[in-house]
């Protein structure tokens, strides 16, 4: 969108007042940060900062902030500050302030003054009506600053006068008891007031009017985006910090410290004694017990190797089922089928499958697949259930990728006299491969972290010994009678990372003594799961970025 900039000529005489409003925004930011820190217990309300109680500091800053906001609005009204306000702050802001002051009035009347229902309702209505009048019927500069500044000053005074102090608590008197304690009420109230005043000051900074509203709205929207990224970063960083010690217990680097892996393949030919083939073994140059061991009494360090291998096989199985099916269906829908009833029904079915809750897939797998695979929960049932979940994701993304292939490609190919299937095979599918691959990787990342379907279809143990690591390739056996191929490894339960984390949580802390530090073990499992899933996402997103750049250049 177009970005607007002010020339020096226009901006010249408003720079002083801009500075005042900018300072108010700055104060709001400081208050916001302090309150957030208090909310999460980084600073305590009874601490002192620079010799002042945190609570008093918050109250004082709120009063300063509120007064600044109000004085800016009044200054603008009296013409000391040059702004371009509209005649009213608007209905949305008016209703918001009405609600805020209604609640404030009601709480003061019922909790502080102890009035009955009729009393507090009357007071609340009175407060709300006044707020509505001020914010809607006065000019915008007054209407959007006075209610905001007043609530901030009011909150500040409540803290300063000790109406709400650090030991305050408001019992809600419910049958199942709950109360608002000062530790959450004070930071919460402060955060809210800082947001409201910050919005009002941003509006003032923009000089009210269209530009002021723009500034106020942008402040809130930028805060929101920032908060989302902060939450994401916080979650990942927190899991990483908590899980790192458990993950790296017993970690060693050096030649020959790791377990030995042998790769071998011998071709057993009939009627011959010699079996041509090769065998090659090597020692891993590092040892990460958490990812290379199972759980065992004799282990120095326990790990989750069976779950990691289980997750890998689940993903492989689900992909083998869903990718051909999804891509094939996408080919039919985009290339062969004419748009009509049939494609519509398929689209609705696909989107319906996409939004079906994962636990319902679990129930379906339990009712449909488990009885058909020997009546036990099994790896194969888990694979297919996850495959059902992956299918709509693959279908939707492949279809989008194929629709994005320009029709000129198809026409050019058809003009050469090439058959439709040849065109699909050598033009459409290759051109849409980047999109398909990206979508598949993102979809796989999602199912790799799914727990709910596995509960009912695959399950597994809480602490799995290393010897139970599933060996799918070695399990295949062929026979002459139906069903021709058997694989007991596929038909027994195994563990997977998300399931194992659930089992550890459900089992409770310290259930098993041979695990050592159970808490560290759980966090390390969470971290390794996060690494696996976010690894898929990172690869998928990076690929998309790469292909997009390639197309643009």
């Amino acid at each position: 969108m177009a970005t607007d900039s002010r020339t020096a000529l226009v901006a010249g005489d408003t720079s002083g007042t801009d500075a005042v409003a900018a300072v108010a925004v700055g104060v709001a930011a400081v208050v916001f940060a302090t309150a957030a820190a208090a909310m999460f217990g980084i600073v305590s309300l009874t601490d002192t900062i620079l010799g002042v109680d945190v609570l008093l500091a918050l109250g004082g800053l709120l009063v300063v902030l509120g007064v600044a906001v109000v004085s800016f609005g009044v200054g603008s009204r009296l013409g000391y500050v040059e702004t371009q306000p509209r005649s009213s702050a608007g209905l949305v802001a008016g209703l918001a302030f009405t609600a805020i002051w209604f609640v404030t009035g009601g709480l003061v009347a019922s909790q502080t003054l102890g009035l009955g229902t009729a009393g507090w309702l009357a007071v609340a209505l009175g407060f709300g009506a006044v707020a509505f009048g001020i914010s809607t019927f006065t000019r915008e500069d007054v209407g959007s600053t006075i209610p905001a500044g007043a609530i901030t000053v009011f909150a500040g005074l409540v803290f300063l006068l000790g109406v709400i102090d650090a030991s305050w608590a408001w019992n809600l008197q419910w049958e199942q008891k709950a109360s608002f304690t000062a530790e959450v009420a004070i930071p919460g109230l402060t955060l809210f007031c800082a947001l409201v005043s910050g919005w009002a000051s941003a509006k003032a900074y923009g000089g009210f009017g269209a530009r002021g509203r723009h500034a106020g709205a942008y402040l809130l929207i930028y805060m929101n985006a920032l908060a989302i990224i902060a939450v994401l970063f916080g979650l990942v960083a927190f899991t990483a910090v908590k899980g790192f010690p458990g993950l790296t217990r017993g970690f060693e680097v050096g030649l020959g410290v790791g377990p030995t892996t042998t790769l071998e393949y011998f071709l057993h030919l009939p009627f011959l004694d010699v079996a041509p083939g090769f065998s090659f073994s090597f020692d891993w140059p590092f040892y990460l017990p958490f990812a290379m061991n199972g759980v065992g009494l004799l282990n120095d360090f326990n790990g989750v190797l069976p779950a990691i291998v289980g997750t890998i096989w689940l993903v492989v199985g689900a992909s083998l089922f869903a990718i051909p099916l999804g891509v094939g269906a996408a080919v039919f829908l985009t290339e062969y089928a004419e748009r009509g009833r049939f494609t519509q029904v398929v689209e609705i079915a696909t989107n319906g499958l996409w939004s079906t809750p994962s636990i319902v897939f679990g129930l379906f797998g339990f009712a449909f697949l488990v009885p058909r695979f020997g009546g036990n929960k099994s790896l194969l049932a888990g694979m297919l259930t996850l495959g059902f979940m992956l299918l709509p994701l693959v279908l939707i993304t492949s279809r989008e990728a194929m629709l994005a292939v320009p029709d000129e490609y198809r026409d050019a190919s058809a003009a050469l006299g090439v058959s439709q299937w040849q065109t699909i095979k050598s033009v459409v599918v290759p051109a849409s491969i980047p999109g398909i691959v990206t979508g598949v990787i993102l979809g796989v990342g999602r199912i790799a972290g799914e727990t709910a379907p596995l509960l009912l279809t695959m399950a597994g143990g809480t602490f799995v010994p290393g010897g139970q690591t599933v060996d799918v390739i070695g399990g295949f056996a062929f026979q002459a009678s139906p069903p021709f191929v058997t694989n007991p490894e596929l038909l027994q339960a195994t563990s997977a990372l998300p399931y194992q984390l659930w089992a550890l949580i459900a089992a409770g802390v310290g259930q098993s003594s041979n695990i050592g530090d159970a808490e560290a073990f759980k966090w390390a499992t969470a971290l390794i799961l996060l690494i696996v899933v976010l690894g898929f996402y990172a690869i998928g997103i990076a690929m998309r970025q790469y292909f997009r750049r390639k197309i643009q250049s």
Binding site: A178, G352, A367, V485
Partner: protein
């Protein structure tokens, strides 16, 4: 809109047209190829029937199918590919149908058991919704869905209050406001938020948020609808953001430029042009977010108390008992017989609700696309 009679009259016409077309198709195509495709079809259907009937002989028709498909692929690739991709397309519908059939079938005994009599008429399943007691152990054994529906509604309302406004604001930010460099970092960030497994969210909520909330709100024990709702809202957020962003991006650039050209600010353009034009798509996004929130399982299971009863008072968000999803995830282990069927009833309620939401939001999106004159 054609009337019903017209449509009924059109059916034989369409049918005969289809018949004629297929006859022409048969006449034009190599008979060997047709035979191969015929064998493929029959054997695949046979394998399906065998699988449904839990037959040990399922593998026989399946092997026949594989062999015929391999032969067809080598000698008649075009037609075989077409038949195969068609079968794959049908399989998506088939899976949805199978889900419907199997979870409904499993829930029937429960619906029979919980019949209630209204005005002398016995209504199957009604007693699950008119009394709030869940007791699977001591008689009278009652399976009520009311506490779980209450829990799901509470969590979904709170989650929507989180994911709706924040998600739409984030979508506005990504689609209209953010400079390209910021956009390139925030957008993957939102996607990764969707990628964090729900059990990890649940684990963090259980170990961190739960004790914190119990302490700060002076609650007995651990588990609140409020914080489950907030966590689930965060998990539904990416869905809202990506769908709403698509809707906002679908508003033609000319409309936005036209508005900006008469001197409005970006924000005015957004509130008076872009958002109103995309409002149906944005509401579809919020609806899909609601669907995600309803179906969210592991975070709720880990963070809730697991006691199927109503909170007291009923709007008490500081106590979290059980949702439809967590009921299934918590009780599948020891449940058998009637109780297992009760879990399937919970599954049916979830499935039907979410499917309805999905269909409604698709309809809204389809109408918006038509209105904006895009494709379709």
């Amino acid at each position: 809109m054609s009337s019903l009679q017209d449509r009924v009259a059109a059916v034989p016409g369409a049918f005969s047209r289809a018949l004629r077309r297929s006859r022409e198709f048969v006449a034009e195509t190599d008979p060997v190829a047709l035979a191969v495709v015929g064998i493929m079809t029959v054997s695949l259907l046979g394998a399906l029937v065998g699988f449904l009937l839990v037959s040990a002989l399922t593998a026989v028709p399946f092997v026949v199918f594989l062999a015929s498909a391999a032969y067809g692929w080598v000698f008649h690739q075009g037609l075989t590919a077409r038949a195969l991709t068609f079968a794959m397309t049908v399989s998506t519908i088939l899976i949805l149908l199978l889900i419907i059939v199997f979870i409904f079938a499993e829930s029937v005994p429960m619906i029979r058991y919980e019949s209630a009599t209204v005005f002398g008429v016995s209504v199957p399943g009604l007693r699950m919704f008119i009394q709030p007691n869940w007791d699977a152990v001591s008689p009278p054994i009652r399976y009520s869905m009311v506490p779980m529906i209450h829990g799901t509604v509470m969590v979904t309302i709170i989650a929507t209050m989180v994911a709706g406004p924040l998600g739409v604001a984030a979508a506005l930010f990504l689609s209209e406001i953010a400079p390209p460099a910021v956009r390139e970092t925030v957008k993957p960030g939102v996607e990764i938020l969707a990628g964090i497994p729900s059990i990890v969210y649940g684990f963090i909520g259980f170990t961190l948020l739960g004790p914190w909330a119990s302490d700060k709100f002076d609650i007995l024990g651990q588990g609140t609808y409020l914080f489950v709702g907030i966590v689930v809202g965060m998990m539904a957020l990416p869905t809202v953001v990506s769908v709403a962003e698509d809707a906002l991006a679908a508003v033609p650039e000319s409309m936005k430029s036209g508005s900006l050209a008469i001197g409005t600010t970006d924000w005015q353009t957004m509130t008076s042009i872009t958002l109103p034009a995309a409002i149906s798509g944005v509401s579809a996004a919020v609806l899909l977010g609601v669907g995600r929130a309803i179906g969210e399982t592991m975070a709720a299971t880990v963070m809730l108390r697991g006691v199927p009863r109503l909170t007291e008072p009923i709007y008490n968000v500081f106590y979290g008992q059980e949702t439809l999803t967590s009921l299934i995830a918590r009780n599948y282990g020891e449940a058998d017989g009637l109780q297992m069927d009760a879990l399937f009833v919970a599954g049916v309620i979830l499935f039907v609700t979410v499917l309805a939401i999905s269909i409604v939001s698709q309809y809204i999106e389809w109408r918006m696309r038509r209105k904006l004159g895009g494709e379709a």
